[in-house]
Symmetry: none
Subunit: 236 residues, 2 copies
Amino acid sequence: MKIERKKVSMQVFDRIKEYIHEEKMKPGDRLPTEKQLSEMFGVSRTPVREALSVLEASGLTVSKQGGGSIVQETSLTNLIEETQFEFVDSKEVLNLLETRIILETEAARLAAERGTPDDKSQIKRNLEEIRKAQDDNRVGYKEDIAFHNAIAKASQNPILVHSVENLTTLYEKAIRFSLKKNMGVSEKRAQVLSEHERIYTAIRMGNGDQAKDEMDQHLRNACKKFKHSFDQALNS
Amino acid sequence: MKIERKKVSMQVFDRIKEYIHEEKMKPGDRLPTEKQLSEMFGVSRTPVREALSVLEASGLTVSKQGGGSIVQETSLTNLIEETQFEFVDSKEVLNLLETRIILETEAARLAAERGTPDDKSQIKRNLEEIRKAQDDNRVGYKEDIAFHNAIAKASQNPILVHSVENLTTLYEKAIRFSLKKNMGVSEKRAQVLSEHERIYTAIRMGNGDQAKDEMDQHLRNACKKFKHSFDQALNS
DNA sequence: TGTTGTATAGTTATCATACAAATCATGATA
DNA sequence: TATCATGATTTGTATGATAACTATACAACA
């Protein structure tokens, strides 16, 4: 049995998160000052500051000199910066996509078979958002992810939803980095949109097998595009 | 135009990343010491430490007291969140099993198709463990879980492995609680063992379709047994 | 030869203190 | 009321000291 030895700064990190939770702090609320926190936990300012640094890097808080630290609007997707993705290799992303295919094709089938009218109209709204993003000439990561998550939600299986969300947000973070390097994928966006539309149509019609098929093709194409753009990036 | 005022600690953070990149440092390599870094960038140790904290939190490096900071293998797998649910609701267990079916049937197929001889002999060892547990008249949760995880591992997809492990450990927790109430499942254990054996055989033969089928039946039977024992518990 | 104990230097983790810089709050003044 | 000055508060950085830990080398021992 390994002896647990955790850095004080990381314990403080956890405690501050707990604190935010327990006090039900909303975005905009001010945290106690560093001095107060250090007294609260009986440590010096140093580990408190390191904990706050990590919190800020994770997007949970913002510290302003003289102003204090305030909790921030936390969209789960920017939980940790995309910085570390410079070091992931393409194989990992393909593994991620492979796992997404396994989960999301079945999610699509279940969505078609069990989705309520509400679920389906939500999916439709997400589709509209994607279209809008495209009109605005934005890439629309968030909208894409939201579309996929909405389909998972229509499966009526919270565990499945959670698993899918886990992977899609991870994918977004990873892909966002790789797209920074080469933007030459925009011409494919029309194709992606029509894939999305076909998935939605199958779900709306309640055709599980077809929904699964369309999702399968859609994600396999994503694989291909990723490989292609990654190779391009390597050769540049 | 507002002057960009960036905290020194975050500039140091960026510079250290650059440094790792430029020096082409591999996982396992040691970073310069904090003292050296602070001299390198002409700042005090304080911001250097805060930068290192963030680096460590984002999984790029590990700092060990007395040992220095080393760059770490960064894999997407480390970034998957642990699913934290604390439920015992029967509906959730069925959802959990449904998700396991989706993932693990494909995992079994991939294990049959891609598993190395080492992987397969590991699965065999896990099977032996289950048998041994049964001989000792133990229930053998751990052995069961280990068997399923080993199959996932043989898929050669770390993301899939992690996802499966997430669900199996969750399942273990849930089932361990619910089985406390009714132990009347022991007579089915022989059947479970033969299911496990059939899964293994299919994987060993490299028959992906059959492996998937066997896993499917195995988990569906688990569903049935759970429903049955749950109903029993309700009527008692 | 190989293992175990010990000494030593190097390194990180934390503490305490001080000061600089930005922000905030208060009240005076126009 | 609105604006500005000013002092208090708070974060950012610097510095030095101490404790705890690691890695290494070397001696002692079996």
